[in-house]
């Protein structure tokens, strides 16, 4: 299953809508005032907020079970290890991974992708091989491959988008060939909101013998993710974009692919035996987790998955489509606004990237902030995409499970206010 538009329409589930008021009560930060106005937090694609359940789980770990993991013979270490490995099992089940051992904890999506670039690609990508990317990639899924290309002399190729912000899948066979070793692309665009057809692309990539890496930073937050149904080989994401703690990342890779990879960082935790001259490696996943891991963050991640599953990932996706329908409709009422990305609410996650035709995105960001709205303005770490769109920056409002339709109205009101500040007609 990709991000499931079936469930999103409610056709198959018949499930109830999210109780946003009840969800909001779980997030203490949403009580905050900003510049004397109630906070409207619409920067969720950068990082979401955390519910009490996540904050409490991390706090309780430090209060009751804190110890370093693995190898300790005392009770606290055993509890900490159980909590850490228990979080790994939760992630594996959440992503429908082929095995718990194929989930690796990193710092963030960026580190997960760099891990693949070092530990897999350096062994498997040679001069004149090709890596296929897309023009909509976040810098985190572009720069590691540029570094590899400089080092290995391999070639980077790019799949373009059409005017609506969809990948040009009809050109896939022109950019894939027997030299392609890896196709690395985002599940969901952080700047356009486009949900990409991963299984279709993975099928084409595998037919030429290439592996598929999916940047899931914007994918996991927005609906059910099943890495086996996506048919990819690597899936990277950052739990902090889905209610989890900052500072921990996830890399899932197919178990057989992981077994053929070199280590990433060297040090404690990742060895089987060490002599003065050489070392042998621990089994996966610990081979890729050098040093003391971020145990409390893993515990918080486990709690965030429990929370998401309590809400229901299909229901989350359904809520997103509902937000999108209203958001796109309201933004289209403003003739001075250009809204980027797919027009169909079901083809995107719940974010809108837009520009006022007279007001720069940074000015919008400042004016909206004064009205209590937190949005992002800038290139969204996707400068090649900005160039492709012919803009320097966009304003981006990104919604999540605790945002409701009245916050869309607050956004639109503030966009009117911005026109007033600049003395422009509405």
């Amino acid at each position: 299953m990709t991000i499931d538009t079936e469930a999103a329409t409610g056709a198959s589930s018949g499930s109830a809508e999210l109780d946003v008021a009840r969800i909001r009560a779980d997030f203490p930060i949403l009580q905050r005032q900003v510049h004397g106005k109630p906070l409207v937090y619409l920067d969720n694609s950068a990082t979401t907020q955390r519910p009490d359940a996540v904050i409490d789980a991390m706090s309780n770990f430090y209060r009751t079970s804190n110890a370093n993991v693995h190898r300790g013979v005392h009770l606290l270490s055993e509890e900490a290890t159980d909590a850490y490995e228990g979080a790994r099992a939760k992630v594996a089940a959440f992503l429908n991974a082929d095995s718990t051992q194929s989930v690796i904890f990193t710092r963030n999506t960026t580190e997960s992708i760099n891990l693949v670039a070092h530990a897999w690609a350096r062994r498997h990508v040679r001069k004149d091989d090709e890596i296929l990317l897309t023009v909509m990639e976040h810098h985190s899924n572009l720069v590691p491959w540029q570094l590899l290309a400089q080092e290995r002399g391999c070639k980077l190729r790019f799949l373009d988008i059409d005017e609506a912000g969809h990948l040009q899948l009809e050109n896939l066979n022109e950019v894939l060939n027997e030299h392609t070793r890896l196709v690395a692309l985002t599940h969901v665009s952080n700047a356009l909101g486009t949900v990409n057809a991963i299984p279709t692309i993975a099928c084409a990539a595998h037919s030429v013998g290439a592996k598929v890496l999916v940047d899931g930073a914007q994918g996991v937050p927005h609906g059910p993710v099943d890495v086996q149904a996506l048919d990819c080989d690597f899936y990277a994401y950052s739990p902090h974009k889905a209610l989890g703690p900052l500072g921990i990342g996830v890399l899932w890779a197919r178990r057989d692919v992981l077994e053929e990879m070199d280590p990433f960082l060297g040090g404690g935790e990742m060895i089987r035996d060490v002599t003065l001259e050489r070392s042998t490696w621990a089994a996966v996943p610990h081979k890729f987790e050098a040093g003391t891991p971020s145990v409390a963050d893993a515990v918080g991640l486990g709690a965030s998955i429990d929370y998401l599953e309590g809400v229901g990932t299909a229901q989350i996706r359904q809520h997103e489509v509902k937000i999108n329908e209203y958001l796109l409709g309201r933004l289209r009422e403003l003739p001075w606004l250009t809204v980027y990305g797919p027009q169909d609410p079901r083809d995107r996650c719940s974010l809108a990237s837009f520009n006022d035709n007279q007001i720069h995105a940074h000015d919008l960001g400042t004016i909206l902030d004064q009205h209590g709205l937190a949005i992002r303005a800038g290139h969204h770490c996707a400068k090649p995409l900005m160039r492709r769109l012919g803009v320097m920056a966009t304003a981006r409002a990104s919604f999540y499970i605790y945002n409701d339709l009245d916050e869309v109205d607050r956004l639109v009101e503030a966009l009117f206010e911005a026109r007033k500040v600049f003395g422009l007609a509405t």
């Binding site: 000015d363 303005a377 600049f422």
Partner: protein
């Protein structure tokens, strides 16, 4: 709103709508490109200087927010016809004001004084400074001896042509 009115004063919006220095120069003495990697704002600046060390003309191609465009436009308005030393002096005063100091008493800084409100929006100070950091590099490129009077800024990069 109080804070916004203080930031987006009418004179700033006027400069933003119709910036000074839009005419390209023939054979400028220097051409530099300023760039704020934090937000992606860009600014091309050309400068002509006569034999007496006086700035005869400035041309800017700003690509950014209202604050960065207005600041660049005011720079052109203030410095056209001034000597290089006068330019350096004004640049130092403006940077000091953006760091939180007051305008020196007894002097008139014209439209530029309207940018004082920016210092209440710390994340936007870089926007106001882009043109002035770009000017520093234009001066240093024109006369390497002036390079000693300009400071490097970690967050703004300037490319010389």
């Amino acid at each position: 709103m109080q804070g916004l009115d203080d930031l987006y004063r009418e004179v700033i919006l006027d400069h933003y709508r119709t910036p000074h220095g839009s005419d390209a120069l023939e054979n400028p003495a220097v051409k530099v490109e300023g760039f704020n990697p934090l937000c992606g704002d860009e600014l091309v600046m050309e400068m002509s200087v006569d034999a007496d060390g006086r700035i005869t003309a400035l041309h800017i191609e700003p690509n950014g927010c209202s604050i960065s465009v207005a600041s660049a436009s005011m720079l052109v308005q203030q410095l056209s016809g001034k000597t290089l030393q006068e330019a350096i002096a004004l640049k130092d005063i403006f940077k000091a004001v953006m760091r939180g100091e007051s305008w020196p008493a007894g002097q008139d800084f014209g439209d530029l004084e309207a940018l004082e409100g920016v210092k209440n929006f710390p994340v936007r100070v870089k926007c106001a400074l882009l043109a002035w950091m770009t000017l520093e590099q234009a001066l240093a490129q024109y006369d390497p001896e002036l390079a000693g009077q300009v400071e490097a800024d970690d967050d703004i990069e300037v490319k010389t042509h």
